[in-house]
Amino acid sequence: MNGKPVPEISPDSRPYWEAAQRGELLIQRCRGTGKAFLYPRRWSPFDYSADPVWEKASGRGTVYSYSIVYQPPYAAFKDDCPYVLAIVELQEGPRMMANILHCTPESVHIGMAVKLCFETRAGGFRIPQFEPA
């Protein structure tokens, strides 16, 4: 096990993290506008309609932007350097932060096709990540 952070789950995001443990990525869709969004919220940020619909994402996306981290922010990320911190744009529209794993950091570029994978953290907790498609 490494000392990398494990998220503190909030009531609104519990289904998201439970799905991640099953190997799925969930997004939410607004009941009023039909638009998809992340991160999980109690209401739609577009029209405040209640109970956004949970939906399984395709797990496909592209790199919207990225950086290659050479100096670690703190000890837990020291062994990962250099690692890629990226914003991934999902096929469904929403963007999310992730690391791009299983490739040389220098090969990552904007527009690169990526697919969902998972990283296991302390206590066997799985967090969504991406790798080259």
């Binding site: 909030s10 995001s13 950086s67 922010p73 911190l85 932060m97 904007i110």
Partner: protein, 389 residues
């Protein structure tokens, strides 16, 4: 243009490391220097704004403003501690102008004293959690340099901006810093594009010299009603326009990484002042990293969108160039004084307009634009300042 308020006195500590002072003592140092430099009496201060004390430490005191007022023997009629990161002090000036405009008070003292912990220090992980979404960003190893690098890489992709152009921002600002007696990096001498490109990589595309310099310091700015300004200074610095916009909290929620809230705030500020980019003699643009002045030059209309890299190329913004930017060295060469950093560029703009900028005094400084932002390019404020009334 109608003056909304006037800056009549400014003072700033030399950036450095002050381990012997706690958070409140940093404020006392700022105040002590301010009172030594200016003939100010308690009756000159009717309002007091401060940032919370200890923002960069783990103990934050949001009652700073009342403690500072008490130490100064004041009973202000307008006072609070406010925080919008690097946008804090531009918002203080805006709040002060609004209060003065509404007749709540005739004068407001704006105060900041800040620290900036070094990367890798004990509170780095806490900082990472604070500056990114604790659940959906922080687990991915976020910290400030790669978050800002996301904007730089996107800008390079969309507009062909180069690492050499990023480096030109650092080179230009170092040249200005050499003219500032208090600039932290001045003793290191001039920078070159090669020196920036061969410095240690931090987070692509940023090397060490693409980053601002963590340090400690603080400043004080006295703002008064326009009609009282000349009692304090023969050449006051008037606020004639401003704009404020808060666009997101987490960088992954930003609708764009290359056009920021600054485009909106600049438009508001120009409309209020009845002026345009062509009327500006200089710009002071908050610079956490080399990409920021490039994006703000575009968003403020000083050049077209996508041309920001070229705007800084060839020494155009350096001493002797045709459009001076960050005439004090910027946070990259003057020093980034943590939670007080957002007042540094206001102090410099005021000094230029009040004719107090010493060796770096611009021959033509009538009207200038200042852009500050806080958070992860989240909270934006543009100020238009002028000595014409």
């Amino acid at each position: 243009m109608k003056p909304l308020a006037a800056i009549v006195a400014v003072s700033e500590m030399k950036p450095g490391r002050y381990p012997q002072y706690d958070g409140m003592e940093m404020y006392r140092q700022v105040l002590g220097q301010f009172l030594r430099e200016w003939q100010i009496r308690p009756q000159d201060i009717q309002g007091l704004l401060s940032a919370p004390v200890g923002m960069a430490a783990t103990q934050v005191d949001v009652f700073a403003h009342e403690k500072l007022a008490e130490e100064l023997g004041l009973q202000p009629v307008f006072s609070e501690a406010i925080n919008a990161g690097g946008g804090t002090y531009a918002l203080m000036l805006i709040r002060a102008a609004l209060a003065i405009g509404q007749g709540l008070c005739d004068s407001v003292l704006c105060l900041g004293a800040g620290r900036f912990p070094n990367v890798g220090s004990g509170i780095s992980e806490l900082m990472s959690k604070l500056i990114s979404h604790p659940e959906f960003e922080y687990p991915y190893g976020t910290y400030i340099p790669p978050i800002f690098a996301l904007a730089a890489v996107r800008h390079m992709h969309e507009f062909g901006t180069t690492r050499e152009q990023l480096a030109e921002v650092a080179v230009s600002q170092r040249a200005w810093a050499l003219k500032h007696p208090d600039a932290l990096m001045a003793p290191q001498g001039p920078l070159s594009i090669d020196k920036v490109l061969s410095s240690r990589p931090i987070a692509y595309p940023f090397n060490l010299y693409d980053c601002s310099v963590p340090s400690e310091g603080g400043s004080a700015v006295l703002v008064v009603a326009p009609q009282l300004a000349r009692r304090y200074h023969p050449k006051p610095c008037y606020l004639i326009g401003f704009g404020e916009k808060h666009t997101h909290a987490s960088i992954s929620q930003a609708s764009s990484l290359t056009t920021l809230g600054s485009q909106d705030t600049a438009g508001r500020a120009y409309r209020m002042a009845g002026l345009g980019p062509q009327d500006m003699d200089f710009a002071q643009l908050y610079d956490s990293f080399s990409i920021n002045p490039i994006i703000y030059a575009e968003d403020l209309g000083l050049c077209r969108k996508g041309q920001g890299g070229r705007f800084f190329a060839g020494g155009r913004t350096a001493p002797g160039g045709d459009f001076p930017v960050n005439t004090y060295g910027g946070l990259m060469s003057f020093g980034h004084v943590g939670d007080a950093s957002g007042q540094t560029m206001i102090v410099e703009a005021a000094r230029q307009l009040m004719g107090m900028a010493g060796e770096r005094q611009l021959p033509q400084a009538r009207t200038g634009i200042v852009h500050c932002y806080g958070g992860m390019m989240s909270e934006h404020a543009t100020l238009i300042l002028s000595n014409q009334s």
